[in-house]
Each structure stands twice: as structure tokens, then as C-alpha cells.
Amino acid sequence: MIEKLRGEKGASSVMVVLLLVALLVFGVAALTTALSSARLGQKVSEWNTAYYAAEAQANERLAEIDKAVNEARLSAYGFETALESGLGSLGFKTCVEKKDGRLLIGYEAKSGGIAIDVVLSASATDGLKILQWKERQ
């Protein structure tokens, strides 16, 4: 038996099999890494699309509110009354609160699991000020 084990017959076959196994392991590892990288790229793409869509919505709403504030400043009915009425006629939900003679306006822009919370401060003298522009997932 020991004589048989000491023989070198079949050594080249063992080497070839080991080489093939090593090739297989490295090949599968390389492919797995490449597929993970492709998945990551896809996720980055989806996240970017969602984030910038939410950002677009937040900016479009900011423009609408800016217009409403501008009109309220010129209104004969008084700034706060005109602004509250103007915000009520917008096509999206806003949260309005009075604080220190200013109106705090909050709204949310949302797309694909990403939301941007915006808080603005509006007054007849200072116009519109962005207090918060915060993204959350």
C-alpha cells in the first residue's frame, strides 16, 4: 500500500484537476464580483433618478410658493390672508404656521422612496427664506 502511495503515477492528472478547480474558483469569484458591481451601478442609477425627481418636485413647488408670496406682497387684502389663500389654491399640500410675525410654510417632495422636507419662512418685508431643505429615505 505504502509502495503504491509513493508511486508517482497519476500525479499529472491530480495537477490538472487542481488547476481546473483553481480556474473554476477564480472564475466564479470574478463573475460574482462583476455582477455585484453591475447591481451596485443599477442601484446608484435608481437612487439618482429618484433623488433628482424629488429635487425637481421640491424646486417646482418652491417656484409656486415664491409666486404666491410675491402676489401676496402686492395684495390689498393683507399679506397673511392673501398668502394663506394663495397657498390653499396650490395643487399640493402645505403646512402653514404663524411664528414671530412670519409664516412658516412646510411641504414635502417625494419620489421613489426619497423625500425632501422643505421649510420656508415668509414675511411681507423679507419675502421668502429657506429654513430647511432636508432629504430623507
Binding site: 490538472v16 481546473l20 480556474l23 473554476l24 477564480f26 472564475g27 466564479v28 470574478a30 463573475l31 464580483t33 462583476a34 455582477l35 458591481s37 453591475a38 451596485l40 451601478g41 443599477q42 446608484v44 442609477s45 439618482n48 433618478t49 433628482y52 425627481a53 429635487e55 425637481a56 418636485q57 424646486n59 417646482e60 418652491l62 417656484a63 409656486e64 415664491d66 409666486k67 408670496v69 410675491n70 420656508l120 419675502g127 421668502l128 427664506k129 429657506i130
Partner: protein, 132 residues
């Protein structure tokens, strides 16, 4: 001469062919992995290039300033094409609505060899009364 040790030519040819087929299949794995990695790197690079262009445009005070920051001057044209980080970039912008400031809808796409790898759409409100 009648010693039967060793292999016949046919056996050797068959074993070399079998090994060749197995090696070809295994090496194909590496080729596919390389192609996939290169494609993924291209897509990620294009995404970062497009996002960086969008951020440059959005971070400027006006759209024209944003284009100038990207090295595009003397036009004021809403659309522009240029090269960045090895990608062909295209910026398309459209002015929307009637506001105290200027609202632009912006689309930035990055392509390579005629194939669009990344496309980002957003909007930016320039000017107006709103300030930080």
C-alpha cells in the same frame, strides 16, 4: 516492443481535446466577468459624471453661470454638448412657467460610443425671492 505501458495517439488527442473544451469554458467565465465589470464601471462613471454636471448647474446662481462653470461660455443656449471624464455629455434645459425667478427643467445625459449610459432629469429654481 509489446510493452503496453503508455497511451495511444487517439487517447492523447481525446484527452487534450477534453481539457481544451473544459479550459475554454472556464476561461469564458473570465471574459464574461471582465465585460460585466467594464460595463458596470462605465455605467457608474456615467452616473457620477451626470450627477456632477447637475450639481454644478444647480449650485450656480443662474443657469448661465452653471454652464460657465462647466466651461461652456458665449451662448446662453439652453442646450449644450461637451466631453467630461471620457463621456459625451449632453445638457438640455427648458424654461418653465412664469415665476418671480426662473424655473428650468434640466436633463443631463452621459453617453459613450453612442450609447446612453446615464440620464438624470431634475428642475432648478434660480433667483426669485427665496434665499438661504
Amino acid at each position: 516492443m509489446k510493452d503496453k505501458k503508455g497511451f495511444t495517439l487517439v487517447e492523447v488527442i481525446i484527452s487534450i481535446a477534453a481539457l481544451g473544451v473544459i479550459c475554454a469554458v472556464l476561461l469564458r467565465l473570465f471574459v464574461v466577468a471582465g465585460d460585466t465589470t467594464r460595463r458596470a464601471a462605465d455605467v457608474q462613471g456615467a452616473q457620477f459624471a451626470a450627477a456632477s454636471v447637475v450639481e454644478t448647474l444647480a449650485g450656480a446662481d443662474t443657469y448661465a453661470d452653471g454652464l460657465a462653470a462647466l466651461g461652456i461660455t458665449g451662448g446662453g443656449e439652453p442646450s449644450a454638448a461637451f466631453a467630461r471624464d471620457g463621456y459625451d455629455m449632453r445638457v438640455e434645459a427648458e424654461r418653465k412657467g412664469d415665476y418671480p425667478g426662473v424655473l428650468y427643467r434640466i436633463k443631463v445625459s452621459a453617453s459613450k460610443e453612442g450609447k446612453t449610459l446615464a440620464s438624470i432629469e431634475t428642475a432648478k429654481y434660480y433667483g426669485g425671492q427665496a434665499h438661504d
